[in-house]
Symmetry: C2
Subunit: 366 residues, 2 copies
Amino acid sequence: ATKKLLVLPGDGIGPEVMNEVARVVAWMADARGVAFEISEELVGGASLAVHGVPIRDEVIAAARAADAVLFGSVGDPKWASAGFDLRPEIAILKLRQELGLFANLRPAKVFDALVEASTLKPEVVAGLDIMIVRESVGGIYFGTPRGIETLPDGSRRGINTEIYTTSEIERVARVAFDLARQRGNRVCSVEKCNVMESGLLWREVVTALHAREYADVELSHMLADNCAMQLVRNPRQFDVIVTGNLFGDLLSDLASMLTGSLGMLPSATLGAVDDAGRRPALYEPIHGSAPDIAGKGIANPLAQILSFAMLLRYSFAMEADAALIEQAVANVLASGLRTADIMSPGMAQVGTSVMGEAVVRELDKL
Amino acid sequence: ATKKLLVLPGDGIGPEVMNEVARVVAWMADARGVAFEISEELVGGASLAVHGVPIRDEVIAAARAADAVLFGSVGDPKWASAGFDLRPEIAILKLRQELGLFANLRPAKVFDALVEASTLKPEVVAGLDIMIVRESVGGIYFGTPRGIETLPDGSRRGINTEIYTTSEIERVARVAFDLARQRGNRVCSVEKCNVMESGLLWREVVTALHAREYADVELSHMLADNCAMQLVRNPRQFDVIVTGNLFGDLLSDLASMLTGSLGMLPSATLGAVDDAGRRPALYEPIHGSAPDIAGKGIANPLAQILSFAMLLRYSFAMEADAALIEQAVANVLASGLRTADIMSPGMAQVGTSVMGEAVVRELDKL
Ligand SMILES: CC(C)[C@H](C(=O)O)[C@@H](O)C(=O)O
Ligand SMILES: CC(C)[C@H](C(=O)O)[C@@H](O)C(=O)O
């Protein structure tokens, strides 16, 4: 069966870094005989500019039909005042919700060659390897009632609703427990059960599921404010963290910044396996569209390339090929090449396309 | 007029560190002729054990009648399964809400003598001095509907509601702008307006208030996930941060951990000035009840002592006395005394009461 990929470069540096993935895809076809059928669509500000909406229904349908979606990034200051329903971000939120992509896997990993890039002391972050599993189609992101209403006296009121159900909590916790079994076998579940009933239910459901099906995995619970502190104090205490949509948004960004190299971090967002054995999935770098450096040819393409490696691993079970790409990236770093965002004294600074070419050259050697 | 203080030591290390404040209060009476009328009550687990509730109505009334409340900390694993309505934490939540303590001021300051205590590199945090102003009686902490409901199929659903009104946003933003004018004159307002309408209203209201009354202060806006990252990447970019209850909970804990010395950080929570010119206020250390080290005489009393200094400054406009206490604390640190939590090689490790005595001895010298 051909492997159908939908590529959505998006805004800012998205298209630039996606270009470098194209080289790796071409290499896969040439050297390994693995062919992908690739189609490409506009999303975010790029779609707004042409179609007047951040994502068209046709694109959602194409994402559904594809075996996997490779996403760049969305967000563009040009559209800052486009209105709440026309934000470029709608593109990613709609894809998550329409495809039921409920488990956002966000690794925070420190690459040995880049341990100095962190603002944290090397002895605190060396070897760091955390996986944050963030619920991504529920919680306060999507709960209703929501909106802004005007009160009789002319003042206004903004409302959002956090909702979590037993089954929403269970399915994302399962992903976390399953991942933990392939890693350090430890899960830390994070909420604010001392203040929020949705967090209390979260803790109860995770605890019960653990006792029922995952007693072999070590489970701990932590309040979200304490987790924010512990990630700074001693991040290596964590293996897998599982949490809701909003806490996951903050905590995973915090965790990835501990590595000092956002430009290196990929992510996956997975849905449920359907009756035909298919699982919707989207892969994207953790970094955003970085409008300030867009179009300059200096963005780091490695997170986007590593997102493609994650895609091979999770959507096509091509573990060997994924590992090959990851090894090539490690070798390029070891050889001293750096884009501006991860540059340090004594290294060789290169632009986006030189970095992409270097990865392919390393792949040739492996 | 006598100055009426309500002292609420609470749980864990609360009573131990509060003992050391008593020395400072005694010194104030002796050396400066400033007398306080002090009453003390149980809260948290300590109140649960005796009265069966985390805080009695009489204690709320006493807090209302006092000129200021000095709070220790609440939280005790013994009461972990006491039920949602009997958590020790109810004590602080109820005090905030019943007294209308809407502005939680949480400084994150790196003491020169302790710059090495941070897990962040000294060059990133030296001189750090951020003030986080967190809204503390609204948002998802108190919004309704809330609770856990059982659905017809036996599964459950947890719900919480985030609500912010124009006036709730304006009054806390005013506190932030006013503070900024006495500091670096910069306010960064933080929400998730790209996902939540309550955040969108927050941004609009802060922007309008700024234009109307505070155009001399520099205002910027930041998404909460980005703020979590920026606090790790370059915390010194901030002067005053203003944000909602839930984001403030995580971000202020994160910010205080950047200093590496939670045991040093005080906080204030202020209400509105009433017609008689009185302003309800509560002061507490940022650290929690630390049950693991309670009763051992090793807790750091400095955050509690500095909370008392904040109390003098904000509730009684006793700036000189507040500064005196802060100077005494700085001198004690400079002399090399350290409690276990801030110990480093070459320093002299002491317990809670030796540290408290040392502050008073320094006060004598000033
Ligand atoms: C773009 C934005 C809506 C999104 C989110 O808040 O989920 C982003 O921050 C992320 O974490 O993927
Ligand atoms: C004890 C708890 C309810 C409280 C909160 O979440 O507000 C604490 O974390 C704080 O920040 O003061």
